[in-house]
């Protein structure tokens, strides 16, 4: 499975010439290999798949996406309210 879970790097170390890290996923801490994400540092979040970090999570992108999604909710509600307003206006006119 392409199961990749975001976890937080707690500490980095070397083993057998490979750069490794202790990564925290919720309540669990597992070792992950950082060779494919050399720029990742303690405190960064990485997506880990079968014990390998495959990508560093971009916190700005994450926040931007999330803001857009939340805003959409507000927009959708505004749209819904506008439709209700229109229907009320029309029903008042017809009565």
């Amino acid at each position: 499975m392409c199961l990749g879970i975001p976890g937080k790097i707690l500490e980095c170390f070397d083993r057998s010439g490979l750069r490794m890290a202790k990564v925290q996923f919720g309540g669990i801490v597992r070792e992950s290999c950082l060779e494919c994400v050399p720029e990742a540092q303690t405190g960064d979040y990485v997506v880990v798949h079968v014990g390998f970090a495959i990508s560093k999570v971009d916190p700005e992108e994450a926040a931007r996406t999330y803001r857009l999604l939340e805003e959409m909710g507000q927009l959708t509600e505004l749209n819904a309210m506008a439709v209700v307003d229109e229907k009320l206006t029309m029903s008042r006119r017809s009565s």
Partner: protein, 373 residues
């Protein structure tokens, strides 16, 4: 959990679904490629949340499902060898070959071990110099860097007792094969998020342009999938056919260059047979000749194995998005996760297994308007 929980917010999910409903003017068929996405959709009931006019069909992104039966039989034959420690990810353990599965072999005395990471196999190899350690390297592009790294490290350490049995497949050729099929119903794709975290998504731009389909690279949490679906529907409604990146927090257009380099060092592209679909040219990885000493298929010459697939199983059509598990006459009855007849039931992330796990075999109405028994 950060970067997980917030993407499961129910209120935001409903808002996105409402927005899709607002802009949609006609029915659309969208395929999600990854088994992990299929699993998330079924588990969270995302297909129920979406308007009926958006149909999600499930793709071939389940590497266990598409591993040919002959390859599984080869794995079992190697596991039976005296002196072999056969290592595998957990999801392969209950996959039946022509006769039994790895778990059964283990109970019969074979040394079969589950590993979390391919690097664990190197630990086992170092600790057991008199044994042959073989790793079943099944996966898509996501898993290739990890497997490549293990092979590269083993060669660097001059480990003589480690090899891998390769069953790696690639997503873009599979998507192209589906789009080329005369039976294709798919109009847009949710692209594979973690495959693209590694490989980037420039390959998908060529496919999108050639076949005029929108492809939105999508994550795995409910909000990811819903936002991906919204972006596909927007494009379809506007007559667009482009690649977009919904999973921007983890995916960049160029992907992970370091990971790609490791893969290119160890693997090269070759033809592969996909269970339920057939042979697709240049659709998989094989070890480069410099690493032939770590190729289990060479080291353990396994005779050509005659395999027979179930005549009633329709997993090939399910993997291509032509049918759903409900369309199969034996889904949930003769064919269950305990007694799987074919590819999409054998793996936990196959569409049939996912549907079964979340009780879909007990439904009367597919679209959630009926009552779940």
């Amino acid at each position: 959990m950060k970067y997980v929980d917030e993407y499961r917010n129910k209120e935001v999910a409903e808002n996105i679904a409402r927005e899709i409903r607002r802009i949609q003017t006609r029915p659309w068929v969208i395929m999600e490629v990854c088994g992990g996405q299929t699993h998330s959709i079924v588990k969270h009931g995302i297909d129920y949340l979406l308007p009926e006019a958006v149909e999600l069909v499930h793709g071939p992104g389940c590497p266990v499902c598409v591993t040919p039966l002959e390859m599984i039989d080869k794995a079992h034959a190697i596991a039976r060898h005296r002196g072999v420690i056969f290592c595998s990810f957990g999801d392969m353990l209950r996959v039946p070959g022509s006769e039994g599965d790895l778990l059964a072999l283990k109970s019969q005395g074979a040394d079969v071990r589950v590993v979390y990471s391919p690097l664990d196999c190197l630990k086992i190899a170092r600790a057991n110099p008199d044994r042959q350690i073989v790793f079943f390297a099944v996966g898509f592009e996501t898993t290739a860097p990890a497997n490549a790294m293990a092979v590269w490290q083993a060669k660097r350490e001059e480990l003589k007792n480690f090899s891998i049995l390769v069953s790696h497949v690639l997503v873009p050729p599979a998507i192209a094969a589906i789009l080329q099929s005369a039976h294709n119903r798919v109009q847009g794709f949710l692209g594979p998020g973690h495959v693209c975290a590694i490989m980037g998504y420039s390959e998908y731009e060529a496919i999108s342009a050639r076949y005029r389909v929108p492809i939105v690279i999508t994550g795995f949490e409910p909000l990811d999938i819903l936002e991906g679906a919204l972006m596909v529907v927007r494009q379809l409604e506007n007559g667009q056919a482009e690649v977009e990146n919904q999973y921007a927090r983890a995916v960049r257009r160029e992907g992970n260059r370091r990971a790609q380099d490791v893969v290119a060092e160890v693997f090269e592209i070759g033809d592969r047979k996909w269970r339920g679909i057939g042979s697709i040219s240049r659709s998989g990885y094989k070890l480069r000749s410099e690493y032939r000493d770590l190729d289990a298929e060479r080291i353990f010459e396994v005779k050509a194995i005659e395999t027979k697939e179930s005549s009633v199983c329709v997993s090939g059509q399910i993997l291509q998005g032509i049918k759903k598990p409900h369309d199969c006459p034996v889904f949930g009855t003769l064919c269950t996760p305990q007694t799987p007849l074919g590819a999409t039931m054998v793996s936990a992330e196959g569409a049939c297994a996912a549907y079964y796990a979340y009780g879909r075999h007990r439904e009367r109405n597919e679209r959630g308007t009926g009552v779940l028994e």
